[in-house]
């Protein structure tokens, strides 16, 4: 029905849409989400043939390329075959005519000769969109926002088009009206090909079966709406979902670092992406289908960083860790919860190589860390310990302590090391002046000491941070600051965090996924919101139960 191939649209030499492919069959509905400026509206305008920029590629509607069709043909198509509900409700209706007249005008423009028949049909359609007779004769200024939106939908559907583009149909509506409008649209467009453009993820989720995420003029991820929203695989999609408040996600809002810039070479998202590699700066990724999902990413979507398989450790007769499997993805927080003695810390120490595992394997970015710890492991994985006071040698001052990893790894010369240390201290909101650098740990407060420990873990610029009860020794206000700090680092650098804690309420606020440990095994694992809201295992139920008392 609608087939878009290699669509490029440029305004003044700048690509707004750059090589977009899309195929929709009859009766299919697709939601397009993305930040403003992603090219969503331009996509809609090009399908209805109203775009002002230079277009190339193909937009095939019923085997006709409308980009090459002459103006007159396109005008005839518009309204009859393709219709669009425009974004700006206030400006899209003519203020001097009643809505009934405007709908009738559209019907007459497409061949209806009798004015009476057109008016009757207009009233019928307005009725179908929820505007009863008494409102049909009203002028736009007499209608409420929701009513105007209904009128606009009626206008678009007046000639029973086959392709409908809806551009932000619910942007300025309240929640109840929004829901009515969405179900109205769903009811009226069931047999049509529909594209819903929106930045509102909940609208997209409730509207269509398929969801496409646009960024900088291209589709970066597309798949079944439920799947995409539950487990986003493109880093941009995840960033978008994290920025969006809904009623289920328990983790605090996070954003996406940087902002969209036009004319970026290579993958358009790479300047903001925390998992970019060399090729991302050079080549634009080709969208490819994997696992029922269309993805445009050189890394194949959000990459698994740390994979733990069948890890076991016994201390004499005690099975401290018993066949644990875990996967930690780039830029996510995985909370490891459980009572003390459940093996959480042992698991962390096994990953860090402080203890040696009896069996099982740990893989970091696809490389197996068997018995021999490869050089470079410690640059990529770091740990924060439970008690900051003890994890920093009492003989070292702040400078020496934070510089220690650099000394051990032989990074740079003395001057560079000092400047890296100061930068790291600055990142954790500590002072980098000489007085502070010379302080010994016993002169620091608990919060300061933990920040120093975090700065020390960050100087090597790791991708994975294992935080073992990082705030259990701190009071609540300091704890909040430390966790916000970790989350902002996660946002800025794509830091993947394994947060070990016995505090479910804490894990709920900061983690994307949660794994519940009991007697050395992981008994339940899933999205934090899902685990908290509908715990499956008896132990999880009791943990959540006791935490909410």
């Amino acid at each position: 029905m609608l087939r878009i191939e290699g669509l490029r649209v440029a305004y003044g030499g700048m690509d707004v849409i750059s090589g977009l492919d899309l195929t929709l069959g009859r009766g299919e509905a697709l939601s397009v989400i993305g930040e403003s400026g992603a090219g969503k509206t331009t996509l809609g305008l090009s399908v209805v043939g109203l775009v002002e920029g230079r277009c190339s590629g193909k937009i095939m509607i019923k085997d006709m390329n409308i980009l090459e069709a002459p103006g007159e043909v396109r005008r005839k198509l518009r309204g009859k075959t393709v219709a669009m509900v425009f974004q700006n409700v206030e400006n899209s209706l003519h203020p001097l005519y009643t809505v009934r007249d405007q709908v009738a005008e559209s019907i007459m423009a497409h061949g209806e000769k009798s004015r009476g028949a057109a008016l009757a049909r207009a009233v019928e359609i307005l009725g179908a969109t929820g505007l009863p007779d008494r409102w049909a004769g009203a002028y736009p200024h007499q209608l409420s926002g929701g009513q105007k939106q209904r009128a606009l939908i009626a206008l678009a559907l007046a000639n029973d088009p086959e392709v409908v583009i809806l551009d932000e149909p619910t942007a300025s509506l309240d929640v109840a009206t929004k829901r009515e409008i969405i179900s109205l649209i769903k009811g009226l467009t069931g047999d049509k090909t529909t594209i819903m453009i929106t930045h509102d993820i909940s609208t997209a989720a409730s509207f269509s079966g398929r969801l496409a995420v646009m960024y900088a003029g291209g589709i970066v991820e597309e798949g079944l709406a439920g799947d995409v929203l539950a487990s986003p695989r493109h880093p941009y999609t995840r960033g978008l979902l994290r920025s969006y408040p809904d009623m289920f996600t328990t983790k605090d809002l996070q954003g996406i670092p940087g902002r969209a810039a036009p004319g970026v070479p290579g993958c358009p998202f790479h300047p903001r992406c925390t998992q970019r590699i060399a090729v991302c700066e050079k080549e634009k990724p080709v969208p490819a289908v994997s696992g029922g999902r269309l993805l445009a990413c050189h890394r194949g979507g959000i990459a698994p960083l740390l994979v733990v398989e069948g890890l076991s450790k016994r201390f004499d007769s005690v099975r401290a860790v018993d066949g644990v499997n875990l996967t930690l993805y780039e830029g996510e927080t995985l909370a490891l919860v459980g009572e003390s003695g459940s093996g959480k810390t042992t698991l962390a120490k096994l990953i860090m190589g402080i203890h040696r595992a009896d069996s099982g394997a740990v893989t970091l970015e696809g490389e197996r860390l068997a018995d021999v710890r490869r050089a470079g492991f410690h640059r990529r994985v770091q740990m924060i310990f439970q008690n900051p006071g003890e994890s920093i040698s009492h003989r070292m001052n702040v400078l020496e302590a934070v510089r220690e990893p650099l000394d051990i790894q032989g990074v740079g010369d003395a001057k560079e090391r000092t400047s890296i240390v100061k930068k790291a201290l600055n990142e954790v909101e500590l002072s980098g002046d000489e007085d502070f650098l010379r302080k010994h740990p016993h002169l620091l407060s608990g919060g300061e000491a933990q920040r120093v420990a975090i700065a020390r873990a960050l100087v090597l610029n790791p991708k994975v941070l294992i935080a073992d009860e990082p705030t259990s020794a701190l009071d609540a206000s300091v704890q909040a600051k430390i966790l916000r700090l970790l989350l902002s680092l996660q946002e800025a650098r794509g830091l993947a965090i394994i947060l070990i804690t016995h505090d479910i309420a804490l894990a709920r606020k900061v983690s994307d996924r949660m794994a519940v440990m009991l007697e050395g095994r992981i008994v339940e694992e899933g999205l934090t919101s899902a685990v908290i809201n509908s715990p499956g295992h008896q132990y999880t139920k009791s943990l959540v139960g006791t935490s909410s008392e």
Binding site: I354, H378, Q382, S391, S393, Q409
Partner: protein
């Protein structure tokens, strides 16, 4: 854990006495050439000359100045004390530290070696070794260190095992630190008090053993030694030379060992809270 050794030792009377003794003996040994008219090996022209203004402690059977022997003997004793203690403690740290850090098979191997070395009677081994090798001073230091390190290694291993589990040591491990780095930067500094105690104890034993061995004739003939002085003096005990030949050498040896012992005791009582408390109770 930051220990100011100087202050801790100076706090008790024992410590001050020990340090004073050691200081006096070391100073005398250091400026020995300025305090003697004749080198220890020189023939003065007088045999068995009793103490006088010229020869403060008289002369011996071959006409050498006993005062010079006494001072130069102190040099030997202190050199042995210093050399043996440093060398043996270094070996202890290396062996005990690595045993603790490596664990497993290496630990068992090193510690069984320590067990074996500890049960060997040292004097017999050294006499036999000396008979073969004709020891000079450096060899004697090496031999003494070789038989003294195992005891210290046990102490070091025990201490390192407990330090190894400290969070800051584990943290350093997560930065990719190797065993020698951990030992040097994290474990040895925290073992200061223990090492100081072992160091002083080894020094005391070394002084005593050197004297004993040279008394038995196991020593470099060209080197002055208190043990050798006593051995020679005993041969002429019928001449009453013991008053100025045997006695000063014995006294010097006793004072050196007392100095080391007092210092060690003061240090230990300052660093070991239990002894500290008991000492405090006695004072009350």
């Amino acid at each position: 854990m930051h220990v100011n050794y100087w202050r801790e030792i100076n706090r008790s009377g024992f410590g001050r006495a020990g340090l004073a003794l050691l200081f006096i003996i070391t100073a005398l040994a250091a400026v020995a050439p300025l305090l003697v008219r004749h080198s220890p090996g020189d023939y003065t022209g007088h045999i068995f000359h009793p103490p006088s203004a010229l020869f403060w402690l008289g002369t011996n059977d071959v006409g050498q100045d006993i005062w010079a022997h006494l001072l130069y003997g102190a040099r030997t004793s202190l050199a042995v004390a210093f050399g043996v203690s440093v060398l043996s403690v270094s070996l202890s740290v290396l062996a005990g530290g690595l045993a603790a850090l490596c664990g497993g098979r290496a630990d068992r191997l090193i510690m069984r070696m320590v067990d074996v070395l500890i049960i060997i009677p040292p004097v017999i081994v050294i006499i036999l070794a000396a008979a073969y090798l004709r020891p000079d001073l450096l060899l004697l230091i090496a031999l003494l260190a070789a038989i003294m390190w195992p005891g210290g290694a046990r102490v070091v291993r025990a201490q390192a095992l407990s330090l190894k589990g400290r969070m800051h040591v584990e943290a350093a491990g997560t930065f990719g630190a190797g065993r020698f780095y951990l030992l040097r930067r994290h474990i040895i500094p925290d073992m200061g008090p223990v090492l100081a105690a072992v160091l002083i104890q080894n020094a005391r034993r070394a002084v005593f053993m050197e004297a004993g061995l040279s008394f038995l004739g196991v020593s470099d003939p060209s080197v002055c030694s208190w043990g050798k002085m006593m051995q020679h003096a005993l041969k002429f005990s019928y001449l009453e030379v013991w008053k100025w030949w045997l006695l000063p050498a014995g006294a010097a040896l006793s004072l050196t060992m007392a100095g080391l012992m007092y210092t060690g005791y003061a240090l230990e009582s300052a660093l070991n809270p239990r002894i500290k408390r008991e000492a405090g109770n006695v004072k009350d």
